[in-house]
């Protein structure tokens, strides 16, 4: 699946998108956040406060307990500050 990052999540990870292939035991958004956090220093920094990271699956907001099965694009970003 494709992971996309915005704002300071993007800056900390150091890229705006990438293909990821989490193992089968990563089932929920929360699992995925924990898995991403273990992928290296940049990810550790980007996802250190995982609870405040907002997530969208296929461009729709989701909560952290939602299952990621079937997702094509998962986006990670800080709370929104538009308007």
């Amino acid at each position: 699946m494709k992971a996309v990052y915005f704002a300071w999540v993007r800056e900390r990870v150091g890229k705006s998108e990438e293909e990821i292939a989490p193992p089968a035991e990563v089932k929920s958004v929360a699992d995925l956040l924990a898995w991403l956090k273990g992928r290296g220093e940049e990810y550790e920094h980007a996802f250190e406060a995982a609870k405040i990271i907002r997530v969208a699956i296929d461009q729709t907001h989701v909560k952290h307990d939602v299952l990621i099965e079937g997702a094509r694009e998962i986006a990670f970003f800080p709370p929104m500050t538009g308007g």
Partner: protein, 151 residues
């Protein structure tokens, strides 16, 4: 009547947008508009840089407009949001709602702005007049609190 959603780098013309909702019609009784501007924050800010999530941003604004329409029988809804670098005094966002009566136009316009603030995927980064940059604007509790009114 249809909903217009646009996300663009360029500035927009509020009067042209407002006219598009009322021109040639004589069933519009009320038009409410909101324009959000970039402030200089007591002289410290040289520009805001707005990042967005293309595709999702349009979808979210459309969803918010649809929800407003489900709550109030308004006529036209226009929501414009800019991205890129915006200097103090420039427009960032515009919402216009037309309807037969003022109450619904006011409510729908403010509802759209309140949800846009907290759920449309846009992020602001500050550029300071001292040349420093990189500070991302933090989400405000006041914006979350504003949503309580609509529950």
């Amino acid at each position: 009547m249809s909903t217009t959603i646009r996300i663009q780098r360029e500035d927009f013309d509020p009067q042209a947008e407002a006219d598009a909702l009322t021109r040639g019609r004589n069933d519009v009784g009320a038009l409410t508009t909101f324009t959000g501007f970039c402030r200089h924050e007591a002289g410290a800010l040289s520009a805001l840089e707005l990042e967005h999530y293309p595709g999702m941003a349009e979808k979210e604004l459309q969803r918010i407009a649809d929800e407003a329409r489900a709550r109030w029988p308004v006529q036209g809804i226009t929501v414009l949001h800019r991205y890129g670098k915006i200097v103090p005094g420039e427009r960032i966002v515009f919402v216009a709602v037309s309807g037969a009566h003022r109450g619904q136009a006011f409510a729908a316009c403010e509802y759209i702005m309140d949800f846009l603030k907290t759920s449309a995927p846009f992020w602001k980064r500050e550029h300071k007049v001292d040349g420093s940059s990189g500070d991302w604007v933090e989400a405000k509790d006041a914006d979350d609190k504003a949503l309580e009114r609509w529950k």
